[in-house]
Point group: C2
Chain length 259, copies 2
């Protein structure tokens, strides 16, 4: 258990949503043990998950599921289990990392719009995978570096009317970012007040920050700030996440005290 003031940070981040335990584990391994050869020992994983409010039984069930999904593998070493990402779990974690950990300065500055030849040319899901967000039937927005389908009419904006953000910005996501922003400010406040932060605290806070951020940022394509309304906090959240993670450098799990 983290103590005051860091427990405030944990509370802010764990009350945001009903976290799925398997998804939280995906975050933990993706953040703390993404490199080839990285492992997390059973007892270390247990205390981290416990610090995040997850019961041991729930962690066991979720680990079982992730092993079945070929995301996690576990081997015995003496009395301990050593858990690690599988090759495919590592690959998918690495694929998502640029979106999650990207520095605010690396965010796309330009965007383009494209029109598909017909509504059935590509599904919304296929377009999302290419990095494009829907504006209206057949019409999508994406960062300039996203590659459009070959048969699309591609256009560069020369004006930016106020109604665009209203129509394109997902309302539920705007609300989710506003709540995350509040939580991240509480985390920042708690860290600033803390006399010291142990490697274990650091690991727990990192995972919770990344987890809540990842849930939102991976739900939509990355687009320049000026496409959004003034009240949109997605980009502010990235700035806060980036600055918080730099204050919470990845700890050495092998040296972590489990007291």
């Amino acid at each position: 258990m983290l103590t005051k003031p860091l427990s405030d940070a944990v509370e802010a981040l764990t009350t945001l949503n009903n976290q799925r335990v398997w998804s939280l584990l995906v975050t933990v391994f993706g953040d703390l043990a993404q490199n080839d050869g990285d492992v997390i020992e059973g007892p270390v994983l247990s205390v981290l998950m416990s610090d995040m409010g997850i019961k041991a039984e729930a962690t066991r069930v979720a680990l079982h599921r992730l092993r079945n999904d070929d995301w996690i593998m576990s081997v015995k070493s003496g009395r301990n289990s050593l858990h690690s990402l599988t090759a495919s779990g590592r690959q998918e974690s690495a694929a998502a990392s640029p979106r999650i950990y990207g520095h605010p300065n690396d965010a796309p500055k330009h965007w383009h719009l494209l029109i598909l030849g017909s509504t059935s040319a590509r599904s919304r899901k296929a377009m999302a995978q290419l990095g494009f967000a829907p504006l209206m039937p057949r019409v999508y927005l994406g960062p300039s570096d996203a590659t459009p389908p070959e048969d699309a009419l591609v256009l560069s904006p020369t004006s930016l009317p106020h109604w665009l953000a209203e129509q394109f910005e997902p309302k539920d996501l705007a609300q989710d970012y506003a709540e995350l922003h509040q939580a991240l400010l509480r985390v920042q406040n708690a860290i600033d007040k803390a006399a010291s932060i142990t490697p274990r605290d650091t690991a727990v806070l990192r995972c919770l920050i990344v987890h809540n951020w990842r849930r939102l940022v991976l739900r939509h394509p990355e687009l320049p700030r000026d496409l959004y309304s003034p009240g949109w906090l997605g980009h502010d959240c990235r700035s806060l996440v980036s600055s918080l993670l730099s204050k919470l450098p990845k700890p050495d799990l092998g040296q972590m005290s489990l007291e």
Copy 2:
């Protein structure tokens, strides 16, 4: 009556559509007497209209209508009537002239696309007046020099998929241009074969060429050639019209023989 081979040209141009007589008169005055002070004497107008296959009675009725519409005015001079454009008739004729007489080299080379904030933001008619052609609901195309509504999202194309022309090109207009193109080739052939062309022949041929061309070209915004399908003949028609009119310079109506 024009004689062979020029009568072929007249036939090609008068069988294209059921010409409204008042509309043909608008062409005659717009082409032959657009300048302030230009008049057409009654007997001259009669032979020109008769050469175009219009009966005297029909011309009288149409003149009456155009006087009521404040497009034409007629004054008596001895035994003759002198007909001319009114100030507003002249103004509207002058406004349409750039689209009708524009040289092929002056056609727009670039275009942009715009998206309106809602389907009800502007009517199709209002957009057509601004020079924009509809592609799909809320989406319009126009030449780069057409000024978009202030609240529109304006974009420049960076790709040109083949489906664009299919979707945007009005099918009926494509067919009308194909027929006009055939007729203009017959006119060109007739002119090339003719031993001589009198000022009266010239006036009749000019008016028929301009009239059939005007009917089509004023029905749609002017857009660059590369937006259209390979089979589109609108731009070829402009080239032919331009070259034919240069071979048929505007005659001096005062010197015209009415024999």
